[in-house]
Amino acid sequence: MSVQTDVRDALWTDVCGIDAVHPGRGVAVLVDGQQVALFRVDDDVFAVANRDPFSGANVIARGIVGSRGDILKVASPMYKQCFDLRTGRCLEEPDVALATFAVRARNGRVEIASR
C-alpha cells in the first residue's frame, strides 16, 4: 500500500469544496506541484495520481467511474485501462499502479494528506 503516512499525524491540506467534485465523476487538483485526481462515489472521496502511466498524460481525473465486480474503478480516457480507486492498481496489468493519497471530507471541504 502506498499510504504510509500515519494519517492521524499528517498535515492535511485543504484542496477544494466537496461540491466541486461531482458524484460519479472526477476532478483534478494541484497540490504542492503534484497533480491529483479526486473522485466522489456516494459519500466516499478517493484520491489517486492524475498521470496515466500508459500515455504519460495527466488525464485520469477525466475517466469514467464504475465497478468491476466489487471493485470501484476508473477507466483512463486515453487507452481505457482501469484502475482500482482504492489501491490505484491497474486491473489489466497488475504491475502498474497509480499512487494513492490519503483523503478526507470535512466540513464540506476535501483535504489531502501531504507526504
Binding site: 476532478v27 494541484l30 506541484g33 475517466g63 469514467i64 467511474v65 464504475g66 465486480g69 480516457p77
Partner: protein
Amino acid sequence: MVGHKLVETFVQLGGTATWDVLVVGEEPRPAYDRVALSSYFSGATAEDLSLVAPGFFDVEGLALRTSERIVAIDRIAQTVSTSGGDVLAYDALVLATGSYPFVPPVPGSDLPGCFVYRTIEDLDAIEEWAGRCERGAVVGGGLLGLEAANALHQLGLETHVVEFAPRLMPAQIDEGGAAVLRRRVEELGVTVHTGMATEEIVGRSAGMTFRFAGDDHPDLDVDMVVFSAGIRPRDELARASGVEVGERGGVVVDDACRTSDPNIYAIGECALAHGRVYGLVAPGYEMARVTAAQVLGGDAAFAGADMSTKLKLMGVDVASFGDNFGQTPGSQSVTHSDPVANVYKRLVLDERGTTVLGGVLVGDASMYLTLTQMARGDMPTPDHPNELILPGRDGDSVGIGALSAAATVCSCNNVTTAAICASIDDGHCDLGAVKAATRAGTGCGGCTPLVTELLKHELRQRGVVVNNNLCEHFSYSRQELFDIVRVQRISSFSEVLGAYGMGRGCEICKPAVASMLASLGGGHILDGEQATLQDTNDHFLANLQRNGTYSVVPRVPGGEITPAQLIVLGEVARDFGLYTKITGGQRIDMFGARVDQLPLIWQRLVDAGFESGHAYGKALRTVKSCVGSTWCRYGVQDSTSLAIQLELRYRGLRAPHKIKSAVSGCTRECAEAQSKDFGVIATERGWNLYVAGNGGMRPQHAVLFAEDLGTDDLIRYIDRFLMFYVRTADRLERTATWFNKLEGGVEYLRRVVIDDALGIGPELDAAMAQHVESYACEWKATVDDPVRLERFRTFVNCDEPDPDLVFVPERGQRRPARPDEKRRLLVRSV
C-alpha cells in the same frame, strides 16, 4: 512483368553469385505492373506502377538496359544483337517478350485516332487524343476491352464497346453472366454492341465511322478507337532463329520452360506451354520460378495453371473458375440470378451434384475463394452445394468467417487470424485473454472490434454459447436495452441501472446508455447525471489528444466555407496557438487546446456563427460534397447544396457509432460517396442512394439502395435507414458491420425502409422529425450557460495550466514534444 519476376527469384536463389544477368527491355523504363495499368488513369504514376525497387540493379552481377530491343538471335554463336548495334554473348537466354495486342485486319484500322492498350506510352497517347474528342469505341468486349472502355468512360468520353461475339467476355463467362454484366456496364453509361463484325473504318475530316457487316446495323461515328481484341505472343525472335513455335503462335516450351533449343527458355505470354498461351500473370510467375530453378540446375516443373480469375470490371465483380462452362461430361449446373440486384451466379456440379467443378460469378464474387478451393478439391463440398450461391442469409459466414488464416487482423503487432484461433484453442476465451496471449489489440487498439468479432465467431464455431450482453452490468444487448429505454420512457442511467442492471456501471455501458438517451431526444448531454456518463470526448465536447489536450472541429457543412469564416478560424487558431490541419472530412481541425481554453475558443467560434462539428461524438460527422453542377463541367445535379442540406438535417444525431456521408455530382464520384454510411450520387434523373459503406479498417463499398430518387423520397429513405440503424445496431457498430449481419440483406432493408414491411415507417419518420426539430448546437448551449462552463477547468483548486504540457515548433506550428524531447526541455528549464 514475368521477366522481372525471374530476375527477382534468381537473385533470391543466390544465382548472381555464379551468373551475370543482363536484362534487355524495349520499353523506356524498367518492369512495371501491367495488371494495374488502368490505375495510371486514376492517378497512379509510372513510379507507382514500377515493380523494380530503387537500386535493385545496382549490385554486382545484375545489369539493365532499357529502350533497347533484341533484334536477332545467333544460336550457333550463342549471341544476340541489339537495336543499339551491340552483340552480346549468352550461356542461357530467356525470352520473356510478352505479347502484342491483336488489331483485326479491318480496312482503316491504321487511321490516326486508332490505339492499343498495353503500355504506359499507349495510355499517354490515348489520354492526349481523348482530351480533344467526345466519342470513343473499343473493339473487343473481353476483359481488356472492358478495362479500356472504362478508361475512355473515365476520361469523359461517350463510350461504345463493339464485340464480335454475341456476348461480353465470351472466353470467361456464360450467357446469363454476360447479360448481367452488360446491364451493369450499360448502367454506367457505356453502350454495348454485341454480335457486330466491323467491316471497315472510314476516316472523316475529324474522327471516323464504323461500318458493320449486315444491312440492319447503323453506322457508328466516333473520334477514336482502342483495339483490344485479344493478344498474340511475341514469338518473332524465336521464329526467325528457327526455334519451334506453335501453329497459332507462341514459343513451344516443355515442363522445364525450355524451348526446342536447350540453351533458350521462354516464359510468360510469349510461351506456349501444354499447348496454350497463358494470358494471365500468375501462370507466368510460376514459369519464372521454374526457369530460375532450372537455370541453376534444379528440377522444378511447370505443371500448367488454373485459369480461374476474379476481377473487378467497371465496379462489377466478375469471376470464373474451374470448369466454368460445364464441359465435363454429365456435369450439371445450378444458377441463381437476381435481375434487380444485377447478380448472376452459376455453379457447375458433377454428375451426382455433390462436388463443385467450376462456375461463373457476376455482380457478387464474395464466395469466389471458397468455391475455387472446392473446385480444386482443397475443401470439401458441403451437402447442399446449391445453397452456396444463394444470397447470404448468414452474413457472418461470408463476413468474418471468410477471413483467411493468413489475414492480418492486428497490423500493429502483425497478428493473423490463425494466431488468434490458436490462442482460442489454447483456452483463451475472452477478449482480455486473447489480447494478452497474442498482443492483438494492444497497439493502437483499432483492431479491437475485429478481434472481438473474430473471437465471438470462433467461439460459436466451437459450440460455445456467446452472449451479446453489453457488459457485466447489463444482461441485455444494446438493441434490447435500447428498446427497454425507449418503451419504458427511461430518462436516466440510474433508472435503467436500478431496474435492469447491476453494479455501478462502467466505461462501456455508461456512454452506451448516454448515446441512447441522446438518440431518443434527451436534452443537453452535459446536464445532471448525463454528464458523468460521457466519455471524455463527449464530456468536453472535443477530442482528447495524446498529451491530454483537445482538438476543436467546427462544423463546415458540405465542406463549403466562406473566406470570412476561414479568416475567423485562422485568427482563433493563431490567437490560441493551435496546430491547424485540413482533415480528411473536408473541414479544419485545430489541435492542442487545454480544457480551460475550450470555452474561450468556442465563444469566438459561436460568435462567428460556427457550430459544433461533433468530431467527438458517435454522431453524424460530415457530409462531404463535390462542387457538382454549379461549377464542374460534368456535374448533373447540385451536389453541394444537397450535401449541406443533409449535413444540417442530421447534425447532432447520436448513434451507435459515427455516421459519415457524401454527395457526388456525377458518376465520377469525387466525393467518394460509395465509402460512406450513406452516400448519394447524382444521376440525370435524380439521386442514387447507397448505404452501408465504410472506409477505415475494413473498407467496404456501399450497396446501391435505390435509384433516380427525387429529393423528398431520398430524404425519407435516409431518415428511415438511419433511425432503423440507431435502433437496432450494436454498440460501436458502424452501418457496414450492422448491415452485414442483417438477415435478408439489402432486399430486407428495402422492404423495411421503402415498403414499410415492419409497419414502423411513420414511427421512424416521427423520431427523425423530432431530432431535426430539437437540434441545438451543444457548444452554443454550453458557452451560454455558466453552470456547464464550470467543468472546463484543468484544476479545480487553482488557475494554473497543466505544467507538464510541452510543445515544440515544427513547420511553422507547434506540436506536442515527444517524450525524449520533453525530458530534455524540462531538464533545461529546471
